[in-house]
Symmetry: C2
Subunit: 304 residues, 2 copies
């Protein structure tokens, strides 16, 4: 079960009812932020269900101010929430330099910050039980998207347990992932489980032109959160020039990647009502949502 | 005529309905900000009447994050508003270093930033027709209050003009502040004006224990904006320890300084409703307002 809340949906500059870009993901009592523009911590407070102390990881797509300007204040608030465990930051090269430069106004924190700078086009790391894939996209500075994958083991199979002659006293423990040894035999979880089931997948991507890696990582996502900076056809030149994405382009990727649902985000300040474009966009990809600040969902394993 | 809008009234951390500390002052189409915490630019937008391009000066009391965290984003927004004239920043020593460090995420701006670092306990500079006095207060880092004074010349006096034998053709020009020379005589505005009249005075002071310089500069202010971090008697120890001010202490200063009105600001995040303390505080100084974000007024010369 993964809780997902889009804290801010604005690009460029914060507006009274639209904070700058930020996403929070909660899994098993732990939290990850992706991006942290101005208004992130205020939006977390408004959402009301998310704690500051539990933030383990903050990933950055890139270092334009609308994606990181809320960081120094947030770090102080996390400190005030008495976090003492290290906090991991992940982002493009220069991450440590940029963050330390911003910390001129947040020099003293009760927790350590660890930095992991991305240098390859595709990199992975583990966060709790989730695999996080960072993939480089195509903006006017180095920028990454992130895809989170929570795998799911197969169902317990009495047939397989019997085939593999597993003593019944181990069946429960093996289902829980334990391994046992008895009389020279080693019993492992895969010996009682059917084939892996579909896990949960969340992909987040903003500030980029369409590029093949987005479709690769978005493929099969339960939720694909994607920049839709503009909806008006005449803004396409601007989108191309500044390396942003049209809502129509995001929807085309969502359709090809066959995602469960797409949330649009990172709206231009000039776009007062993203929802007005939805009739057109849903012709390209029907399961599109014009997300607002604090649009929230919970990704759950299917019943099967 | 001076417009005053308290953009944010929060201390420490931004809350959903309380931005961090910031004040905007508008005079004759020009604007000055004092402090610029997270939420400043959003509050300016909500206020709706204040332009970004017109900000000429930003004064900082000190560099704790709640007073400056909104700066990099604001600078970008001022740039987006196409300001090209230089912008002056005033604040304690290290100002240039701190601002440039924050500008790691706002490196390119279409206007020049000029820095004026304060080093004396009391310093003055001119902004348009106003004299700005910076005065050092007593916080746990170097911190200044600011007092703005708009002087007002005396009324035109026919008697004085006649006494001084001023040709009538210069009366109008002299009233407007011009000087004339004719046949070896020099005619100056003071020769046709009565004694100076009461000007307008605004004093802003936050993050400090009570100290004599506050009373000195607040004296006679039309509006005194002052920190009232706590109202509960039991928080006094905390106020002393962290060098903040109780509402009661602010009111005592306002009473001694005989100000026109006092607005309290910079509330602790723990204080949900500053207004509940007003009955008590108004016994100390009756003309106290528990300011909220975007409490606004216009200071005007009296009719006389």
């Amino acid at each position: 079960m993964i809780d997902v809340c889009l804290l801010g949906t604005g690009g460029m500059m914060p507006l009274p009812y639209r904070a700058l870009t930020s996403l929070v993901v909660r899994y098993n009592g732990h939290e990850m932020l992706i991006d942290c523009g101005e208004g992130t911590q205020t939006s977390m407070r408004q959402q009301g269900m998310i704690g500051f102390k539990q933030i383990d990881v903050i990933c950055f797509t890139h270092f334009h101010a609308d994606h990181i300007s809320g960081l120094p204040g947030l770090l102080l608030t996390i400190g005030n929430a008495e976090r003492t465990e290290p906090l991991l930051m992940v982002g493009p090269k220069r991450l440590e330099k940029v963050v330390n430069s911003l910390r001129v106004i947040a020099p003293e924190l009760p927790f350590e910050i660890r930095f992991q700078e991305l240098s390859e086009a595709e990199e992975s790391f583990m966060w709790e039980d989730l695999r996080v894939d960072a993939f480089r996209v195509n903006h006017n500075v180095t920028c990454y998207g992130y895809s989170l994958l929570l795998p799911r083991t197969g169902k317990f199979s009495v047939d397989r347990a019997r085939e593999n002659e597993i003593p019944m006293k181990y069946w429960n423990g093996l289902q829980k992932g334990n391994t046992y040894e008895e009389d020279g035999h080693i019993y492992t979880p895969d010996m009682v489980l059917g084939p892996d089931r579909k896990g949960l997948k969340l992909t987040y991507c903003t500030d980029t032109r369409p590029t093949p890696l987005i479709e690769k990582y978005a493929a099969g996502s339960d939720l694909f959160i994607c920049e839709g900076m503009y909806g008006e056809k005449e803004k396409e030149i601007k989108a191309i020039e500044h390396k942003h994405m049209m809502m129509q382009e995001a929807a085309a990727i969502a359709a090809k990647a066959d995602v469960g649902e797409m949330w649009l985000t990172h709206y231009s300040p000039s776009m007062a009502k993203p929802a007005v474009f939805m009739d057109e966009i849903r012709e390209i990809f029907p399961r599109t949502i014009a997300a607002k600040d604090r649009t929230t969902t919970t990704l759950k394993f299917s019943e099967e």
